[in-house]
């Protein structure tokens, strides 16, 4: 049973007032809030178990290692990875993509090869590929989107060829809310022999992901958009591909044997985890996933659909509002512009009403260029949001319109 009051009660930050108004946190695509269980797990680690992992023989180090590796197990099961060796901790989605572009890219990409991405990617799934192309002479291809903010599949098919070595696509767009048909994308990419990277930064808290059923080569995400802490994320990669990749960074933990002549690298996943990791972050990430599992994706999906439908109906009835991103398959994101108020002014005005939204280009400047807007205002919903928070947003939009009337 979905009990909104109980869920809201799990998030201590939500009860506060800002500028004397009840906070309505509608910036979940930027980062989600953290439930008490995650906050407690992190404090508990520092209060009781703090020490370095994989090196000490003392009790604390053994506890820290068990908790850190326990989190990896939770994450592996959540994404249905074949084993924990396929789960590599990174600082987040951005570092995960850079790891793949640098390590896999340097071993597998040469001049004339093509990397195919979509027009709705976050900068973090554009720039690392541009950098790789610059280093190697490979070519970056971009599959276009339509006016609803959906990938144009026919155009994607045409861009795909035996020259394509990797297809990178966002699972759920942070700027538009569009959910891409990733199973299709992956199947088509594999048919021409390309590897696949799916950016799950937005999707992983809202949609169930099974990396084996998808047959995806790399799935990446960030804990902080899934009710977990910042500074930690993952690459879930196929073991045979990861095993053949050179290390990303060198240092402690990623080696088995070091001499000045030569170093022998550690096994997966440690080969890609140089240095002391973000131990408390991993532990918090594990707890966040347990939190999601306890609610369950059926309930989460149902609730978030209700919220988006409620907000979309209000948006359609709101005079002077143009939605940016009207894909048939979308979730959790209402991106829009008002004809009389610039998004940045809107952000400031609704903030004073206690409503937190994002105004800007959402790290997806090509999306803004496509829709010919400098920026959009974006409200993004999560499982703890309510209809009355959406009402507060639209009341604040009305206030903004009145100021500029």
């Amino acid at each position: 049973m979905f009990e909104i009051e109980k869920i809201r009660g799990d998030f201590p930050i939500l009860t506060q007032q800002v500028y004397g108004k009840q906070l309505a946190y509608l910036d979940n695509a930027a980062t989600t809030q953290k439930p008490q269980s995650v906050i407690d797990a992190i404090s508990h680690y520092y209060e009781c178990d703090n020490s370095n992992v994989h090196r000490g023989v003392h009790a604390l180090s053994e506890r820290a290692t068990a908790e850190y590796e326990g989190a990896r197990k939770i994450i592996a099961a959540f994404f249905n990875a074949r084993s924990e060796r396929e789960v590599i901790f990174t600082r987040g989605t951005t570092e995960a993509i850079n790891l793949i572009a640098t390590s896999w890219g340097s071993a597998n990409i040469k001049a004339g090869d093509e990397i195919l991405i979509t027009h709705m990617e976050h900068h973090s799934n554009i720039v690392p590929w541009q950098m790789l192309c610059e280093r190697t002479g490979a070519v970056l291809k971009v599959a276009p989107i339509n006016d609803d903010g959906e990938l144009i599949i026919e155009a994607f098919d045409e861009l795909l060829s035996e020259r394509t070595k990797l297809v990178g696509a966002v699972h759920m767009s942070n700027a538009l809310g569009t959910i891409n048909p990733i199973a299709d994308i992956i199947r088509k990419a594999h048919a021409v022999g390309a590897k696949t990277l799916i950016d799950g930064a937005q999707a992983a808290a809202h949609l169930a992901v099974d990396v084996q059923a998808l047959d995806v080569d790399f799935y990446v995400t960030s804990a902080h958009k899934m009710y977990g802490p910042t500074g930690i994320g993952v690459v879930i990669g196929k073991e045979n591909i990861l095993a053949a990749m050179p290390p990303y960074q060198g240092g402690g933990d990623m080696i088995r044997m070091v001499t000045f002549e030569k170093s022998e690298y550690n096994d997966l996943p440690y080969k890609f985890e140089a240095g002391t990791p973000h131990i408390s972050g991993a532990i918090g990430f594990g707890k966040a996933i347990e939190y999601i599992e306890n609610i369950g994706f059926d309930a989460i999906g149902k609730r978030e659909k209700e919220l988006l439908a409620y907000a979309t109906a209000k948006a359609e009835a709101f005079e002077g509002l143009r939605q940016i991103g009207t894909a048939k398959e979308k979730a959790c994101v209402l991106s829009f512009v008002l004809d009389s108020v610039h998004p940045h002014d809107l952000g400031t005005i609704v903030d004073r009403e206690g409503v937190a939204i994002r105004a800007g280009h959402h790290c997806a400047m090509p999306v803004m260029q496509f829709f010919k807007v400098p920026a959009t205002a974006r409200a993004s919903f999560s499982v703890y949001n309510t209809e009355s928070e959406i009402d507060a947003l639209f009341a604040a939009l009305k206030t903004a319109q009145d100021i500029f009337a």
Binding site: H344, G360, P374
Partner: protein, 151 residues
């Protein structure tokens, strides 16, 4: 606490809706681009300085939020007819006003109509919007040929 309507005063809303000195000058001898990547505000400032070092004409173009457009509009009004040598002092006065302590009253005598922008102090994320045009103007008169940013 500062009220929103103190930030979005009638003057600002008005200058945003009907910006003064908007467009390209027919004749100009200095110009510069300004860009605020955070919100995508883009400005271009055109200045015509005569032989006596007087800003004979000044205009701007671009798109941005109400604060950045109104600030640019007010700046062009404030600087037209002033000498270039006075610009650094006005620049500093403005910069000081928008970053000063909330308790400090803006120096209306020095700033004139620009004082309406004092309210942005209460909105740290918006200060850049107000100063972008001033940095762009600085690039223009210094002929620095660099895109002005507010950092």
């Amino acid at each position: 606490m500062f009220d929103l309507r103190d930030l979005y005063m009638q003057v600002i809303v008005d200058h945003n809706k009907a910006p003064r000195n908007f467009g390209v000058l027919k004749a100009y001898n200095h110009d510069a681009d300004g860009y605020n990547p955070l919100c995508g505000d883009k400005l271009h400032v055109y200045v015509n300085v005569n032989d006596d070092d007087i800003i004979e004409d000044i205009s701007f173009e671009g798109e941005g939020c109400a604060i950045s457009v109104a600030s640019a509009s007010l700046m062009t009004e404030a600087l037209k007819g002033k000498s270039v040598s006075e610009f650094p002092a006005t620049f500093n006065d403005f910069q000081h006003m928008v970053t000063a302590d909330i308790a400090e009253e803006p120096d209306e005598e020095a700033l004139g109509k620009l004082a309406v922008l004092a309210g942005v102090r209460e909105f740290p994320s918006r200060i850049k919007c107000a100063v972008l045009c001033w940095h762009t103007m600085k690039s223009a008169v210094e002929d620095s040929h660099k895109v002005a940013v507010t950092e």
